[in-house]
C-alpha cells in the first residue's frame, strides 16, 4: 500500500502577515518499494512535504494525503501507528541524541510505541547491524563520544529500531566528509534491499540522489516541476538548468556528446558506465574518420 498525495497544498501562518505558501498542488505516489528521490533547493518546500508523510503536519483539506488508504485529515486519537509506519529522519539527526548509552537511545522509539520489552533488544541489535555498526562494540558507549558519521548512523538506527515500512531521510549526508558520505549512501542502498522497504531521500545534491534513487521528483517554488525515472529526469538537461539545479557531471558529459552523436545513450550516472559509453563513442568516431 502506498502513500498517496492528491493536490496537496499547504500554507504556513494562514491569515497572518507572515503567510507563506509552502506547497502548491502536489500530487505524487510513494509506492511500496525502491528508493525515491526528492530534489530541490532549500525553501522549495521539500521539508514541509515530508513532514506530511508521518503526520507532523496535518493536511488542511480532505483526501489530500492517504497513507495506506487512511486519510490523514482529521484523524482521531493517537498517531503512533503512523509514526511507526513512516520513519522520518530529520536533517542533522545527531542533534536529537540525549541518552547515556547507545542502547538506551535506540530503545527510546520502540518504548514510546509500546513495543514489548523482550522484543526491543533484538530490534536494537538488528538496526545497529543495518547501519553497519557492531552491536557489541557500540551498545554500551555514550553516543556523545562517537564521531560525526557514527552519531548520524546511530540517529538513523534510532528510527530503524521502530521497524518502519517507509524510511524518509532529509539530507542524510549533509555535513559529512566524503568517506562517511559514500559509506552512508551504500548503507542506505543495503538497508532498502535487506528490509525491502521504501526509502525516500530528500536532498539538494543531484549527484547523491542520482546515485541511489530509481524515481525522482524535482521541486522548486513549492511545486513539483519535473518527475520520472531518474535517468529520464536527468536527461532533461535544460529544464533542470532553468531551475538552477546542477546536473551530475557524467550526465553533463554524455548529453554534450549526444548532440554530436545521437547514438550516445544516457543510461548511467556512475563513472564506470559513463566511461564505457564514452569509449564506444570514440570507437564509432574512429571508424568514421578513418583514424
Amino acid at each position: 500500500m502506498p502513500i498517496q498525495i492528491n493536490h496537496l497544498s499547504f500554507t504556513y501562518d494562514k491569515g497572518l502577515v507572515y503567510e507563506k505558501e509552502a506547497l502548491k498542488d502536489i500530487t505524487m505516489t510513494i509506492s511500496d518499494q525502491g528508493i525515491i528521490g526528492i530534489i530541490g533547493h532549500s525553501g522549495s518546500g521539500k521539508s514541509t512535504l515530508i513532514q506530511h508523510f508521518n503526520g507532523l503536519i496535518l493536511p488542511q483539506k480532505k483526501n489530500t494525503i492517504l497513507v495506506d488508504g487512511t486519510d490523514l485529515y482529521k484523524t482521531e486519537g493517537s498517531l503512533s501507528w503512523l509514526r511507526k509506519k513512516v520513519g522520518l529522519v530529520f536533517q542533522y539527526p545527531e542533534n536529537q541524541l540525549f541518552e547515556e548509552t547507545v542502547e538506551k537511545e535506540l530503545a527510546f522509539g520502540p518504548k514510546n510505541l509500546g513495543i514489548p520489552e523482550k522484543d526491543i533488544s533484538s530490534l536494537i541489535r538488528h538496526s545497529l547491524e543495518l547501519v553497519g555498526l557492531q552491536p557489541n562494540e557500540y551498545l554500551h558507549r555514550s553516543p556523545f563520544t562517537l564521531s560525526g558519521g557514527e552519531k548520524r548512523k546511530i540517529a538513523i538506527a534510532d528510527i530503524l529500531a521502530m521497524n518502519p515500512s517507509y524510511l524518509v531521510l532529509d539530507e542524510p549526508t549533509a555535513g559529512l566528509d566524503p568517506v562517511a558520505r559514500k559509506e552512508l549512501l551504500e548503507n542506505i542502498l543495503q538497508i532498502q534491499k535487506q528490509q525491502n522497504m521504501t526509502v525516500v531521500i530528500v536532498s539538494h545534491d543531484m549527484e547523491e540522489v542520482a546515485s541511489v534513487s530509481e524515481y525522482v521528483y524535482v521541486m522548486s517554488e513549492s511545486e513539483i516541476k519535473v518527475q520520472g525515472p531518474t535517468l529520464d529526469v536527468f536527461s532533461q538537461y535544460n529544464t533542470l538548468r532553468e531551475l538552477l539545479l546542477d546536473v551530475p557531471e557524467p550526465i553533463q558529459i554524455l548529453s554534450t556528446l549526444q548532440k554530436v552523436d545521437p547514438e550516445v545513450c544516457i543510461r548511467h550516472v556512475d563513472v564506470q558506465g559513463t566511461t564505457k559509453e564514452i569509449l564506444s563513442f570514440l570507437e564509432r568516431k574512429r571508424g568514421h574518420c578513418g583514424v
Binding site: 502577515v17 503512533s80 527510546f108 514510546n112
Partner: protein, 266 residues
C-alpha cells in the same frame, strides 16, 4: 508551531508608518510615562481618554488590530478572573441584580470595567513599543536610558550586549525547540497526552539536546566575537547611532502633555 505563536517577544511587524520611524528612545520613555499614568488615573473616564489615544496610535501604526488583540492571549485567564472577581465581590453601591448567591452592584460593574480597561491599556501600550521597534532598536534605547548608571559602576554596554545576544537567540532557540519536538515526535513521543509525570519526563529528550547546542553555540559566538576584537570593558562604537529629530520632540511633548493632563484631572 503552536508554541512559536504563543510567544510575542520580538514580534516586530514592519510597515511604513511614521510610528515605526519615531525614535525608539522616545517610544520607550513614553511607554514608561504611560504605564505610570495608568496607575495614577482612578476613573473610567480617564481610561477612556487613554484608550482613545491608544486606538489612534494603533491606527497610525498601520498594523492590524488583531496583532494587538493577540498579545492579550497569554493574560486572558487573568483578565477574565479579575473582571469576574470585581463584578461579583464588590458589595458597595446600588444593587442591580440580586439572584440566588449572585449580587451585582453598580460599583461592581464600574470596578470590573475599570480593571478590564487597565489591563488592556497596559498590554496595548507595550505591544505598541514591541510591534513597531526592532529588538536591536530596543536594546540600543535601553542602553541610552541606562546610560547615567554607567557612572555608578554599572556595566551598561555589557548588559545591553547581553540583552542583544539573548534577544538575537530567542528565535533561533525557539526554532530549534520546534525542530527537536518534531524529531522526537517522529520517534513516538506524544507531548499532548499522558500524566503530569510522563509529560515532565517527555521534556528530557528536548532539554538535553537543547542545552548541548546552546553551549556549543555560546562557545562559537565567543570565539567569533573575539575574532572581531570584542573586549569586555572596552568602549565600542555603534553602526546605527540614534538621533532625535524635530518630529520626535514634537510627538514626545504632545503625547506627554496629553497623558499627564489626564492623570492630573482624572
Amino acid at each position: 508551531m503552536e508554541f512559536k505563536k504563543s510567544i510575542s517577544i520580538g514580534q516586530y511587524i514592519p510597515t511604513n508608518s511614521f510610528v515605526h520611524k519615531l525614535d525608539p528612545r522616545f517610544k520607550m520613555m513614553f511607554l514608561l510615562t504611560f504605564i505610570i499614568s495608568v496607575f495614577f488615573i482612578h476613573t473610567v473616564q480617564g481610561y477612556l481618554l487613554l484608550l482613545a489615544y491608544m486606538l489612534l496610535s494603533v491606527v497610525a501604526t498601520k498594523i492590524s488590530i488583531h496583532h494587538f488583540v493577540r498579545a492579550l492571549k497569554p493574560i486572558i485567564f487573568l483578565l477574565i478572573f479579575t473582571t469576574v472577581l470585581q463584578l461579583f465581590f464588590t458589595k458597595t453601591g446600588p444593587v442591580l441584580v440580586d439572584w440566588w448567591v449572585f449580587k451585582i452592584t453598580l460599583d461592581g460593574v464600574y470596578q470590573s470595567v475599570f480593571i478590564f480597561l487597565r489591563l488592556i491599556l497596559l498590554v496595548f501600550a507595550s505591544s505598541l513599543l514591541t510591534l513597531t521597534s526592532t529588538p536591536m532598536e530596543l536594546t540600543a534605547s535601553l542602553e541610552y536610558v541606562l546610560h547615567p548608571f554607567k557612572y555608578l559602576g554599572l556595566p551598561v554596554s555589557e548588559i545591553s550586549m547581553m540583552i542583544t545576544i539573548a534577544l538575537r537567540f530567542v528565535p533561533t532557540i525557539m526554532e530549534e525547540t520546534d525542530r527537536l519536538m518534531k524529531a522526537q515526535t517522529a520517534r513516538g513521543v506524544d507531548f499532548e497526552k499522558g500524566s503530569l509525570m510522563k509529560r515532565i519526563a517527555n521534556l528530557i529528550p528536548i532539554i538535553v539536546p537543547l542545552f548541548i547546542s546552546a553551549l556549543r553555540r555560546a562557545d562559537e559566538l565567543a570565539i567569533a566575537m573575539e575574532a572581531r576584537s570584542f573586549q569586555v570593558g572596552k568602549p565600542r562604537t555603534h553602526l546605527h547611532v540614534l538621533v532625535f529629530h524635530r518630529k520626535d520632540y514634537v510627538f514626545l511633548i504632545l503625547s506627554l502633555l496629553y497623558v499627564i493632563t489626564i492623570s492630573y484631572f482624572f
